[in-house]
Amino acid sequence: MIAELGRFLIALALAASFAQLVFAWKGASRGGSGGFAEAGRLAVVAVVVSAGTAFALLIVAFLQSDFSIAYVAGHSHIDKPLLYKVAAAWGGHEGSMLLWCLMLGLFGLAISRVGPADPALRLRAVSVQAILQLLFFSFLAFASNPFDRLLPAPVQGADLNPILQDPALAVHPPLLYVGYVGLSSAFAIAAAGLIEKTPGRALGAALRPFALAAWTALTAGIALGAWWAYYELGWGGWWFWDPVENASFMPWLLGAALIHSAIATEKRGAFPGWTVFLALLAFILSTLGAFLVRSGVLTSVHAFALDPERGVWILGMLASAAVGGFALFALRAGSLGEGEGFEPTSREAFIGANNLLLAASAGVVLVGTVYPLILDMSGGAAVSVGPPYFNATATPLMIAALVLLPLAPFLPWANGGARAGLAQMRAALLLLPVAIGGGVLIWMGAPVLAVIGGALGLWVLGGAAMDAVGALPAARTRALKFAVAGRALAHAGVGFIALGAAADASRPPELTRALVPGESLTHAGHTVTLEDVHRADGQNYLADRATLRLERGGILQPERRYYPAADQNTREVAIRTRLSGDFYAAIGEPRLQPDGRVGYEIRLAFHPMIWALGLGAFMIVLGGGCALYARAAGRVVQRRRVAGETAARGANS
């Protein structure tokens, strides 16, 4: 029953998206008001309600362990803990695609409620969003339906991959999808603006909050994924330049460029064409990411099961969005208008430079990610492109961006006098030798990259602190205060990430050795003794838990688990966090010793200052939140002012 209802609701959402397209389009052509506009807005609600109900039904199917539904049978098991039964609803391809579609609808709803101020533009954007919804809902309904039946129904499910049974991973995909799909709303508004011939400045203002919200969520999603890789996969790292990580990193880089260029476009009318182009491109790269992850074309740790047919579908959607968007851009970019002039020492110029560097970084990441694919398709050798490539290409670009970053907030907009800008910057420039000195001092003897990264991290952090100290007292309105705080927080977050990444470059190689209880092992100045290994079974797994005593005090208890349903092992690492860094221990396979005793593989690693990465990501997300709040607060004030003026005018006449 649930399966039939689910399929019906997905079809209904598809049909409602079509209605949304037609009505919103007509409504927009009539100035954004009237019956068609109203019908268009209602259609969006219908899409969200049907897709939302379908998603809720899928969760119910998981809670009931309804194995007559192929997707449930493939990703659940009766003995699985409740949280993971729910999370499995988006743990595989079909379910996550349903979530993706639901988010498309939700962002359509967001555009129709709090989108561009111009009613015609807003409704046009709603109709463009409907085109994207049509593409993805068709894919869902015809090639990835999570409610497809499996007959005869198996008695037991295949279980969700145990490695995915983790609280961080329960929230990681939804956040990522808010990011990926959120960029669709920037795409829709950009395309709508081109259709409506909206001037660039107004379009930049309309785009920015959506891009900001999407990018902030994407940051949080990527950070959670990195954290999960760090402690759950037990590979002893947080970023591997894996194709799927790159797939999320490219839209992130372009999103970062977009939220900055949109400021310049909104405030000064600078780079209108580029901002719109970025908004189109960012979502297209999101879709490319979905293609890379879901089609099985890449060797990746994250890949979903192989399915070329899905790949063809996603490629088709990608091509439609790209061809439509860029054709529109080519035809209408002229209507965006020319920006006003600016000096090389203006904030616009620095934002331009930041955009150039971020876009170039996205470019080199793209080349490294798809090059093996292209070579393979053209009949060349099978190759892989790994961390050495990305370190050699993306890192120098990032370093250049980090050098410029702290200066930009001190520069005036436009032609406000290069001299004033330089005077402002002088204070900041004084910071540079201090930062370099600090970096060299702290990381003396570490690899060059660690020293550079450390100095740059201090430079960016110091700049953000000076920005906050200087600009916060001057900010008069609440909106302005939050805008400055958001900027300083996010920039400081980038500084912390640079510090964390630099410290990581000085990490000692990890150590694996089989230990018999009673034996000790020393790594990075920490000596641990294996006290014992005992059974510690959980609800749906068997486990061996080691007790490791640290000489400096404290106990680490890593586990190695066996999930019978999936016939798979996982390991739970144990981490001791200190300001100097994380000491990380994992237990591996048992090993029979020549003397007949049983030892266990113990893996030790030390990650200096890895907390800086988490703190940095948290601050960026917080900064994004502040900037969004500033935006909303500013909007309320503006609306009140407009309302006040209208009332005053009414009273006067």
């Binding site: 079909e94 295949a158 490695i163 099985g296 047919e309 470019g363 099978a382 120098p396």
Partner: protein, 166 residues
């Protein structure tokens, strides 16, 4: 600044950065690209010692030797040839006999392959494409039947005649 001059500035800066990035990317690609070898490729023409490569294939059943001090030695096969892999790290949890894996590392002077990384996939139903191609060439690949829908029905092909190392 005049509009034309400004435009020149922007275009100039963009050209410099893009050319730099493109140059960097092509140089780095040439230097850091890691080639994939199937065991039969290596039997035919072994890569130079010290060259960083990827090797993939099915783990030969019964070939895994787990030394007392930790790590593992095992053989991978593509049906045409076998290759012995020496690995001093902790094997990934998804490592199984008979399953497709990719090992990254290099040959030492004596022709022994030392892996620095062994990749087995998150998803046990997933076969690295290069491994699938190598198996196909040697007739060891069984097309998965209905590979659609969440991989529930799809299991990686199990070699029927592994272990002998033909």
């Amino acid at each position: 600044m005049r509009k034309s001059k400004r435009r020149l500035w922007i275009i100039g800066a963009a050209a410099v950065v893009l050319a730099g990035a493109a140059g960097l990317a092509s140089l780095a690609l040439r230097d850091t690209m890691v080639f994939f070898y199937a065991p039969s490729d290596i039997a035919e023409s072994p890569p130079a010692p010290g060259q960083h490569i990827r090797v993939g294939g099915l783990v030969v059943e019964g070939s895994v030797d787990r030394p007392a001090e930790g790590g593992a030695n095992f053989s991978v096969t593509d049906g045409g040839a076998d290759l012995r892999v020496i690995y001093r790290g902790s094997l990934p949890d998804l490592f199984r006999e008979g399953q497709g894996i990719v090992a990254e590392g290099s040959f030492d002077g004596e022709g022994v392959f030392h892996a620095s990384t062994v990749l087995a996939k998150h998803d046990e139903t997933y076969m690295p494409p290069e491994v699938a191609d190598a198996l196909r060439e040697n007739g060891m690949w069984e097309e998965p039947g209905a590979a659609r829908s969440s991989g529930y029905e799809y299991r990686p092909p199990q070699p029927e005649t592994s272990g002998e190392g033909s």
